[in-house]
Amino acid sequence: MFVQIKDLAFHYKNSRNPLFENLSLNFNQGEVSVILGESGSGKSTLLRLIAGLEVPSRGSILIDQAVMNDTFRFVQPEKRGVGLVFQDYALFPHMTVEKNIKFGLTKMNRKQKQARMEELLAIVGMEDYASRYPYELSGGQQQRVALARAMAPNPSLIMFDEPFSNLDSKLQLQIRDELQEILKRTGITSIFVTHDEEDARAIGDRIILMNNGKIQDEGRPEMVLKRNKEQLSLAYV
């Protein structure tokens, strides 16, 4: 198991009720897992906890056998080696595509950085856009750059927070297929967060259905979607 979450508890400062109580969950190496749930179900918060952007009140998180946090330890986000693609991409507006992608490549020399940057631009099919600024790109192009940037430092785990929600539906399908292709090719462990059943079905090796901070079901996409058909169709009417 690549990511192990055990007895995790978390509550937001301004809310009385805990979002998670005793949440335990595992993610396997090389697998594309999708966390499916309505907004407010806690799926994005779970990503933030794994990335180290939020501090849990109890429980432990291990990534690749290494303790990220438990009772006494807390590893800062920059030391976790986890990539995160944000919902609105969060490309640095004052940097070009090239600079954005090179941003996380701290341990390389100039030549290596350049090579890695070019490699990633080729993977996402954006070779001609290195000198553009984020605002000069379309939504889909920004999305690809965000993916390239997150993958550049070679993270052991990459996570996506509602990656298609800012794209129009036609583009959504295209990008989704591309993304799936890239992930399969690189064999990187990945976690997706989405509220879209179709996305979950198309991209996931496994679906984790989340509801009110609890795991309602998990398993292969067809099975999970079939078992919870009624509830899912109600939620999205």
Binding site: K13, A51, G52, L53, V55, P56, S57, R58, N69, T71, F72, R73, F74, Q76, P77, E78, K79, R80, G81, V82, G83, L84, F86, D88, A90, F92, P93, H94, F103, G104, T106, R149, A150, A152, P153
Partner: protein
Amino acid sequence: MYFIRKMRSQFNSWALLSVIFSTLILLPALLIMVQLFAESNENWEHIKEFMLKNYIVNSVTLVGFTGLFTVLIGVSAAWLVSAYKVPMHRFFKWGLILPLAIPPYIGAYTYHGILNYTGVIQTSLRNQFGIKVDQKFFDIMNIPGAVFIFTMFLYPYVYIITKSFLENQSSSLIENARLLGKGSFMTFIQVVLPVSRAAIVGGVSLVILEVFNDYGVVKYFGIQTFSTAIFQAWFGMGDIYSAIKLAGTLMFIVVLILILEKVIRGRKQYSYSTSKVRPLQPKELKGWKKFAVLSFFISLFALAFGIPFIQLIHWVYMTYDVILNTAFVDLIWNSVFVASIGSVLIIIVALIIANFSRLSKGWMGKLFSKITVLGYSIPGAVIAIGVLTLFLSLDEKVFTLYEWLGLEPTLVLSLSISMLIFAYVVRFLAVGFNSIESGFDKVGTVFTEASRTLGMSVTKTFFKVDIKMIKGAIAGGFILVFVDILKELPLTLILQPFNFYTLATKTFQYASDERIHEASVSSMVIICISALSIFFLHRVLEKEPK
């Protein structure tokens, strides 16, 4: 356990620096608070028995009437500018902010110069028309005169805040009132006034703080208030003890007023939440209404900026060849020097505390941001006394150290310029902090988080990402602080080292010596720099959509 983990995730050099800076900022105010309850001496007993009541009555009268008139003028100007279109509309929109460039003490002596026996009005009447007037109609060196001065040069605080509220927040309410058949006046009374209450209270509390802070106007006009009393206790009697007691009492009153502000404003903030911000469309005015509104704008602009400005230009023309010499260059150098160092320090401290407070999300961050804002509520003279007490007690320690080392003992710290600059930081940190905090608010934390997940530490993220994304806010904050320090009078008067003058204190000295013509050149420099910064902030940072 959770606490330990939380501390671990957040405790870093940013937290440590924030703790140190906040403590330093808080120290002068704390020292005054402590001393307020110390035993009293003879001077203080005398002040308390015979003079304190007078100080309170005068200060409260000034504050009360100035508050009332700035609300009347500021709110009606804001409403007329936002709701109606008259010729030169765009000019008045920001021109009515310009009086803020004239510090009230400069306005005070300029108006006195215009109106007194040798002033332009009376000499013209005498020489051209042979009319001799009764002096009592032209004497403004009294409480009503001071209220006039404060109102003219401070109403823009109410005007700016109310105007931006009306323009951005209230369009649907006002349009609905019109559709429901309310005339302009009733809309104003029934809708505009109630919905903009929070904004008006916010603006007028700034006015009130400025009036309490003032020393120049009341001293020049010979009105006894807390500020003049603090100066007299310290410079007249050399009695820091009574100065502290007076400062403490004034601080107490200011805190009461701030609490009152919170109560009146209630839970309302300056803005209420509507997701769509649609600017209010001004309506074209016709006929006598157009004429009336236009004359209101013209007279307000003339009284609060045009007339004193033209008079100052005339005086500059009369005196520039005497004033412009190497001593004047020194003066400008001094002012720019202290203002630059003060502003740079303030921006650095503000960046550190604001960054910590936004990333920690906890009570500690909130507490620090509250402390930084404290100084702006406390009148300059009070801060000066607090800082003086702090540095004197530090000097005592240094003094002993020097004696012990066998060196010539001197008052190192309390005679140095570092004391003055430290006091500026305490007083104006809020100005820089607010600007930077709102810059951070606009950007959010997502870019910081992106950078952290890409392997950058908090500090590296700060230099590579955060600071670059709020460049505008940093520049804006720097300009505001710089101008505030440049204009600052009471605090500088108390703490300036021997034989060290700034533009503001030299202006005041000239005016006090009844050499008001000579004061005009330095006044003009202050006004022009302030006006430029207002223009810059208004046009560049709040660029109007065309």
